[in-house]
């Protein structure tokens, strides 16, 4: 199958997802308020920390730098909030997943195609206004051009990692009915270890070590280190991207395996 044919095959998924997205525009309101609140809580907290300290922070972040980090961390969180987990789990619970098995497409790929417009719309309609709002209110660090280019590359990879995690969480619907509980666990733990709440550089040693071996740091901390220039030369930047790419591949593989296992389970139950 050629690339163009593959693309054509998955375009309908993206199109229909975009359509239903435009019908439930209120999601953007939710996302905007959530992101604004989360940024606000973190930024005010760290501003108070700065007010109480003579020097900078051990991580080497200055106040505009940290504000930029906290702000963009929420933006990356928005990009990954494609609700893949919720939709997959919902299909499993309603049994609609059986229909998906009949389609001559790869289910994970179709899901990714459906998730992409959500991410892009969140970026355009929610992230940009939230960033502009805070840029008006608080001093931010302007990134370099290299930083921006590396960030775009890295954000692309972070999207794949986030998708892999969400798909795995969604497939947990085969095991438990309380997907809501699983999602709360995922949301808080992933956000924490991704560095969405506190940069990994500010975490105490052992915690940072744990965070570094988990895939989640590639979702937020990696891209933002590249954007803000917190790496050692070209080799350091390449290293961050390589680790991200590795995790993206591993998670894609895991999701594929989990999907295959789940399908077998459906067949057993299907009778």
């Amino acid at each position: 199958m050629t690339g163009a044919a593959t693309l054509r095959r998955y375009t309908p998924f993206a199109a229909s997802s975009l359509q239903s997205l435009l019908q439930s525009r209120s999601t953007f309101l939710i996302n905007a308020v959530t992101a604004t609140t989360a940024v606000g809580v973190q930024v005010f907290l760290w501003r108070a920390v700065y007010a109480g300290r003579a020097g900078g922070l051990p991580g080497g972040y200055d106040l505009p730098g940290l504000t930029t980090y906290v702000l963009l961390a929420q933006v990356l969180g928005l990009l990954q909030a494609s609700r893949v987990d919720e939709e997959v789990a919902g299909e499993v619970q309603r049994g609609d997943i059986a229909v998906s098995l009949l389609r001559p497409v790869s289910y994970p790929l179709a899901r990714f195609a459906a998730g992409l417009p959500v991410s892009l719309c969140n970026a355009g309609l929610v992230a940009v206004p939230v960033v502009l709002l805070y840029a008006l209110l608080l001093p931010l660090t302007a990134p370099s051009w290299t930083g921006c280019v590396l960030f775009v590359l890295s954000a692309g990879l972070s999207l794949v990692i986030g998708f892999g995690v969400n798909l795995l969480v969604g497939l947990a619907g085969f095991v438990t009915t309380n997907i809501w509980g699983v999602r709360i666990v995922k949301d808080s733990v992933v956000a924490f270890f991704a560095g969405q709440v506190v940069p990994l550089a500010l975490m105490p040693g052992p915690l940072a070590a744990v965070a570094h071996v988990l895939p989640f740091q590639g979702m937020v901390d990696g891209p933002l280190r590249l954007l803000l220039g917190r790496y050692d030369g070209a080799a350091g930047a390449a290293g961050i991207l390589a680790v991200q790419a590795l995790w993206a591949a591993v998670l894609t593989g895991l999701a594929a395996l989990a999907w295959r296992g789940a399908v077998r389970r459906v067949e057993v139950l299907g009778g």
Partner: protein
């Protein structure tokens, strides 16, 4: 007399229906563990953030480590209680009006609001919040060597109850908007998110935000006001706590009844 009899009847019903819900929890043990455990993990992450903040500075906005922990713990008590008993409101906001199923709650011989809430008491996730809240508050209070008078100790449950009523009322008002807009989930979610600000000292925030959280969406009264009274003896806002609670509960009931009336009018 009549009022007392009604209250007793509702208390008995609540007790009985909570038992039913508890039974459901023992049936779906995995659900319970995931829900309660999930919120516990969320609190652990919040505490970790506070830990990291206080690695850098001894005091933020006039609050030390254990005082902030106390505030966070205390904020979970009304939140957990509210979650245990009123999470059906989310379902109202999301779909009950939209798909017309709400009529079910109008034909039962109890108040429709009670009828709705009682369909599922004791949401498992509330236990996680409540238990971690109690543990955190207890731990922080022990380290602060709080010297509370008997009167203050007796006031604690009242403060928690008022906080719960404030939270439940905000939730009811936003959920009841669904009677006009058929789905008020986004509005309810957004209002609920702003409650995240209340787990930290309000002194951190810009005065306009503080004003908003005190008078417009009065989350300040669920944790900040009672905690600063118990920790620092600030009594200035305390009388307002009771005024705000009564006013909000009244507002919530009025909005609710208006909404239900409207629903009956359009009901087919």
């Amino acid at each position: 007399m009549n009022f007392l009899a009604t209250a007793a009847r509702y208390a008995r019903l609540t007790w009985f229906l909570s038992g039913v819900s508890l039974h459901r929890l023992t049936e779906y043990r995995m659900d319970f563990l995931l829900g309660a455990g999930g919120l516990l993990l969320r609190v652990v992450c919040q505490v970790a953030v506070i830990d990291m903040v206080f690695r850098q500075v001894p005091v933020i906005a006039g609050w030390n480590y254990h005082q902030v922990l106390f505030l966070l713990g205390f904020s979970l008590l009304p939140r957990g209680l509210d979650r245990l008993f009123t999470d059906q409101l989310w379902i109202l906001a999301r779909k009950l009006v939209h798909n017309g199923e709400f009529f079910r709650y109008l034909i039962r011989p109890v108040h429709p609001l009670f009828s709705l809430l009682s369909e599922r008491f004791l949401y498992p996730d509330g236990f996680g919040e409540l238990l971690t809240g109690v543990a955190l508050t207890w731990y922080a209070a022990a380290h602060l060597a709080l010297d509370l008078s008997i009167g203050q100790l007796l006031l604690v449950p009242v403060l928690v109850l008022c906080g719960t009523l404030v939270l439940a009322s905000i939730k009811t008002v936003f959920a009841a908007l669904a009677f006009w807009t058929t789905s008020s989930f986004p509005a309810l979610y957004a209002a609920n998110q702003l409650g995240d600000f209340s787990g930290y000292p309000l002194d951190l925030y810009h005065p306009s935000l503080r004003w908003l959280l005190t008078w417009l969406l009065p989350y300040a009264f669920t944790a900040y006001v009672p905690a600063s009274y118990l920790l620092f003896g600030h009594t200035g806002m305390l009388p307002w706590l009771f005024v705000v609670t009564v006013a909000l509960v009244t507002l919530a009931l009025v909005v609710w009844h208006r909404g239900v009336d409207r629903y009956e009018m359009t009901g087919s």
